[in-house]
Symmetry: C2
Subunit: 485 residues, 2 copies
């Protein structure tokens, strides 16, 4: 049993005021200091990993192995952002020296990015660590120099509370101000949070419906704020005839592993797979899928939605069941592979291309490049798009479409698994995300920064990093020329 | 007389389809090609400067000198963006090599930014060249690799039409595809444009009311798109007692020059000036303002709004008239300097801090740092904030507030005049702009780009710029290390 306390508007006001008071301290903290705060948060999570994983497993049933791995990913994110802060490119330091001979005379301009102010983070059901209280949105917002108020996910309230205590405590112990990280609970508190005058941006990972509602609240404010939502993704996969011929069995095994990973509850789960008609790929998939295990889903709501999502797909006359996985215990989800054809996908995308959270994937047979292309055009924006082809295939046009539909285009791999690195892109055209940014990887920090330029400022009144002596040690552009220390 | 043709929804559909067809060509064009298209547009404007300036002067009455200068600024913007494209940093090329020893094994990731697709640009009344058909939004959108559809401003329809013909023709002559630049007219066409499924982002410069309406349409779409609006700005100025003592006359002259420049119709016009109580600054300003000339305003709507804006300010009991400029001809605007006190500003910001387009500024007397600080807190987000102080002043706290309120903080200068350079920032907290970006300067290009990452892609299927041989010649990050060719 969990006690569902709800944060009141008055309590939220106090938390927002504390965050606003902490914001100038975060903004002014130098790179070494801010990085040390992020690392202190990571160290504290590591130190409490046994306790946290136990609570997380009780609440999410994701299992100890996965959850320990996720803590490692979460602390890795915090440490990556500490490195990003120290490296300094994220500041986009740019200087144009004065040019009195220009017409009109050009002043000196010194530009940098600074934190936007307190950030709201809505945590996710499916990543109780890596996209929750101390997850990617929080790490990148803190790294940008902003206090964070997290809306706890109702699927793991005790873990959220304990994580917040540990991280907030570690930040303060490391010298960060009170108000650096706070937690609110309850759906209404989330609605108030995204509309609170002191909140300057929001990050969200969750359902299309919930995300859209919050996006509308953020956009409807008297002073709209950026809302970075990661809302849903079908993650199309295209497999060519030559690829099936060359390594059909490996591909079938990989697909089953990917769509059942985490009981199909990854935002990068392959939801629709375009397969060549008559190449025997469905049979290969069935062979592996019948042995695949399901498991308990994250929340009661997801558990209830899974069978109705499958029913929705099966309501299309073109859809057949290819295979079912191992029988599941009551309350658990059994893997399912469905099939249709590409022409039906192109004709009825509203039915056949609706995301269904859980261990299900839809194989869509295509018999020509034209049929494939027409179906791909109907696929909504996604986080990822995957191609399995051979060197002999002419896939230039397919790659062009996939790169328009998704933020990450994979070759010969599976989309589940998102490396947290400098170059990662986790975001794509609507409804994958609401923005032109990523929520995973180093550049996620850009979402929570705004540019400020100082014109003809005396050196003493410039932010430290914009003074000549600091510039020399940091990546910066001067008079149009990018310089690396 | 102008004929007010209006673009129908059917016509707009055809233009949007043409833009969408042109988008892949723009996206795929290499740097040299895209830069040559931008320079061809600039050359064509230069070649037609006499004709264009004559039409512009008939429609806007801004005068030949100003308009010739603005054409130069406009072609300069196009050429700057050609340089930005060639320089290549805007692509944010980022590569992480594969690491098979990582747990889990890390794939190769290669990231770049690509054009979002067709962009809608809403042109401004007050910059018939530099923020209109071929202005900053259009230049940066084209540079990012996107076709553009411009909504003409009703204040200069013939100029818009002729500029569009010249630029669209020059682009096609230079080898760019048909559909690269198109024009629509009529308010309803603008509303349809920002909601058109093929439009992927919008740029806007104009009033808070008009911008908010379009922002709401963009955010309310089934698939919301980014709307980059520059909506209104009060551009606060703070002058210290020591600055008045040291150079009061120069400051008064500078202020009068700035608030009357372009008949007070710049988005960076200083709208409120905090001046030390009892330092005699009002008298100095009055001395210069009484000799200042006004002139005709841009449109009938602005002409009507100017006196009612002044009446609104004068409705506050604290407000007095400090000076009026030279009498204006009927239909022209006469410069006005008003005064109030900082305590009234803090108490009644809704009345005293409303932007009034035209040659008027409000002097707000402060008698203590506390009074100044309280009033500054009430100032809405602005494009600029200006400080005039002496080295002996302790202004750290003031600068901190100004940098939170504005995207450009000026020292010992005046905000009118916006250099188009690598470091410029023209944007600020709401209602100055809707975004964390700039609409002037090199980084304006970032608004119309989205990230795409290629995972484990064969070299032949990568975009050219992401291949190893191209990377060597471009700024890029590899395994976390920024490299400059």
């Amino acid at each position: 049993m969990t006690t569902a306390t709800t944060t009141s508007a008055t309590e939220l006001d106090a938390l927002a005021s504390a965050a606003a008071a902490a914001a100038p301290v975060w903004r002014a903290a130098d790179a070494a200091t801010r990085a040390s705060w992020l690392r202190a948060a990571a160290d504290a999570l590591d130190a409490h990993v046994d306790e946290l994983v136990a609570v997380a497993d009780e609440e999410t049933r994701l299992g100890e192995t996965r959850l320990r791995g996720e803590v490692g990913r979460t602390t890795g994110q915090l440490r990556l952002f500490a490195t990003v802060v120290e490296e300094g490119s994220y500041l986009e330091l740019t200087v144009d020296d004065a040019d009195p001979s220009a017409v009109p005379p050009r002043p000196e301009l010194r530009r940098l990015l600074v934190g936007v102010g307190p950030v709201a983070v809505f945590s996710a059901s499916n990543f109780p660590f890596a996209f929750s209280v101390a997850g990617g949105d929080t790490s990148s917002a803190l790294a940008a120099g902003n206090p964070v108020i997290v809306k706890a996910h109702s699927g793991h309230p005790r873990l959220s509370q304990r994580t917040a205590e540990i991280v907030a405590g570690a930040l303060v112990d490391a010298g960060a101000p009170e108000g650096s990280l706070a937690l609110v609970t309850g759906r209404e508190a989330g609605n108030v949070l995204v509309q609170h005058p002191l909140i300057r941006a929001a990050g969200f990972t969750g359902s299309l419906g919930g995300g859209r509602a919050l996006f509308d609240l953020a956009a409807g404010r008297p002073d709209p704020i950026p809302f970075y939502g990661e809302l849903g993704s079908l993650n199309p996969v295209v497999i060519t005839r030559a690829a099936v011929a060359a390594r059909g069995e490996i591909l079938a095994q990989g697909l089953v592993g990917s769509f059942t990973l985490g009981v199909g509850q990854f935002c990068t789960k392959p939801g629709v797979v375009f397969v060549p008609e008559g190449a025997g790929f469905e049979g290969l998939v069935a062979g592996f899928a019948t042995g695949a295990a399901g498991g308990p889903l994250l929340t009661d709501r997801i558990t209830e939605a899974f069978p109705s999502g499958i029913e929705h797909l099966e309501s299309d006359p073109s859809v057949a069941v290819v295979a079912q996985g191992l029988p599941a215990e009551p309350g658990s989800a059994r893997p399912v592979v469905l099939s249709t054809d590409a022409a039906s996908v192109a004709a009825r995308p509203d039915t056949l291309l609706e995301e269904c959270f859980g261990p299900v994937t839809l194989l869509a047979r295509y018999s020509s490049a034209e049929e494939l292309h027409a179906a791909l055009q109907a696929v909504p924006g996604s986080l990822t798009a995957t191609l399995h082809a051979e060197a002999s295939d002419d896939v230039t046009a397919v790659v062009e479409v996939l790169a328009r539909k998704a933020g990450r285009v994979l070759f010969s791999g599976w989309p589940t698994g998102v490396a947290v690195t400098w170059s990662q892109q986790h975001g794509g055209p609507w409804p994958a995300t609401t923005s032109l940014h990523t929520s995973v990887g180093a550049t996620a920090i850009r979402r929570f920064l705004r540019p400020v330029v100082y014109q003809d400022a005396p050196a003493a009144l410039l932010p430290d990093v914009l003074r000549d002596e600091s510039l020399a040690a940091l990546p910066h552009r001067r008079n149009g020329v990018l310089r690396v220390p």
